[in-house]
Symmetry: C2
Subunit: 280 residues, 2 copies
């Protein structure tokens, strides 16, 4: 069984041209087969402002009305996706940019309007991913680069969470490949103390995640990322890491997520923390 | 040898949602293998205006500076391409949206800055088209849908003429398939009298084209389209038509372009014209 690496790259890295270029060089150097899933960054917000489309949020999540969907599709599937593809091509990686509508790779379902109407937002399920077409591309040396725009198979486009998209694609492909999922962003990993960038948790299992959640140590943005990470593991993904984009090629950097932690001991983990009080 | 149909759809059709949807239904009904190449429409101009990017033209052709390229890529590769793909998917056509950067399908060369600096504009050559990857997609039941954004293989995106892109792709694939190229737009064909929509020329060969050019009967917008049509024929494309988007499925509608006209006679053509004076 071939090992497939699926990398999610976050918007904060995309916003910094030098960081993005360096990350893409590293990504190009990763062994194939591989898939990249990218987030959005601030360009969508900037374009919404410039074109006078009001930005509406609920609980930190964007509400996608028709005009917002149009701008998001322009930015994610247009400028960001094609910029990344062109840079990967330059770096020798045979990238092909896709939305979930392309080749029907990621069909989605419009989120029900209750309790909150998020508008044109799509939820994706691992069972609906088009594995044969992704295998066709991967087996022929192509590297799919996904933006987080999907479709409802009824002619409509949908805005989708990029972390979820990466997790679900990894889950779907874990029957065909030994799948490794890397969430790359602007931090060194999951932090035990959100204010302390050095407080990286090297490994996290389900029990520890529960503890941190109960203690409200996991920050708002990290919670869905970790839920996606655990969901991928439960669906058969072999390895999941949350790490800094600059450490893509360092195999053990960041936080390794495990359903159940076999080798690792809470004691040794605590001993490795660069801070003395570890409050759990 | 399989017959491959390559259809170019113009911006004026894209701008009208009902006309576009009807065209896409017809396109979905066309026999495979097939490729769609789409133009831009007025949305790019609208977005440039909204975001305060000045529209600069030279001799009716857009000058593409960095900001213009960004907006054009957003609109062409983002919103328009994905809207078309989603609608084709709904209609049962397994569309996959591509720019020339994707899978390195259409590498281009930045146009030299002299005599006129058109900015980030790419010129494409049939010899550089990535035929194996297009064949891979086509032979697996996928339908490539191209926007006219290409790349320079050095990480840069380029704005490209969609008629030229369609012509060059058709030329490149004419070694592998019997290739049919249809330029679809909002008129019934090439007009002998630009003011008279009924004055459709049913067939045009090189000699007739020369005559009409000398008499300045060919309008500015039609000239590059016809040049692209003849270039495709000279490069081995079997059939080329210029026709109304609404007549996609009517095999003989529009103007058939031929290098040399065997069967057709000038006399019979003149007799078929719906006007009495035919000044050449």
């Amino acid at each position: 069984m071939d090992t497939l690496t699926i990398v999610k790259i976050g918007g904060n890295v995309i916003d910094k041209p030098a960081a993005l270029q360096s990350f893409l060089q590293d990504f190009a150097a990763l062994e194939s087969p591989k898939i990249l899933v990218h987030g959005g960054g601030t360009l969508a917000t900037e374009m919404l402002e410039k074109t006078g489309v009001p930005v509406r949020m609920h609980d930190g999540r964007r509400i996608t009305d028709a005009e917002t969907l149009k701008i998001c599709t322009m930015v994610y599937a247009g400028w960001i996706n094609k910029t990344i593809v062109a840079q990967l091509q330059q770096a020798g990686c045979n990238a092909v940019g896709l939305s979930g509508a392309d080749a029907n790779t990621v069909p989605a379902t419009k989120r029900p309007p209750a309790p909150v109407d998020f508008g044109f937002v799509g939820d994706v399920a691992a069972g609906s991913i088009n594995v044969p077409v992704l295998s066709l591309l991967l087996d022929n040396g192509l590297c799919p680069v996904f933006c987080a725009i999907t479709h409802d198979a009824q002619g409509g486009l949908l805005n989708t969470n990029a972390d979820t998209m990466a997790s679900v694609i990894a889950a779907a492909l874990s029957k065909t490949y030994r799948t490794k999922l890397l969430f790359c962003f602007e931090k060194d990993g999951v932090l035990a103390h959100p204010d302390d960038d050095r407080s990286i948790i090297p490994e996290m299992d389900t029990a520890y995640f529960q503890q941190l959640k109960e203690q409200k140590i996991i920050s708002k943005g990290m919670l869905p990322k970790l839920n996606n990470a655990f969901a991928a593991l439960h669906a058969g993904v072999a390895e999941v890491y949350i790490k800094h984009a600059a450490h893509l090629l360092s195999a053990n950097a960041g936080t390794r997520i495990r359903v159940e932690n076999g080798e690792w001991r809470m004691e040794s983990h605590m001993a490795r923390q660069p801070f003395s009080t570890f409050n759990f």
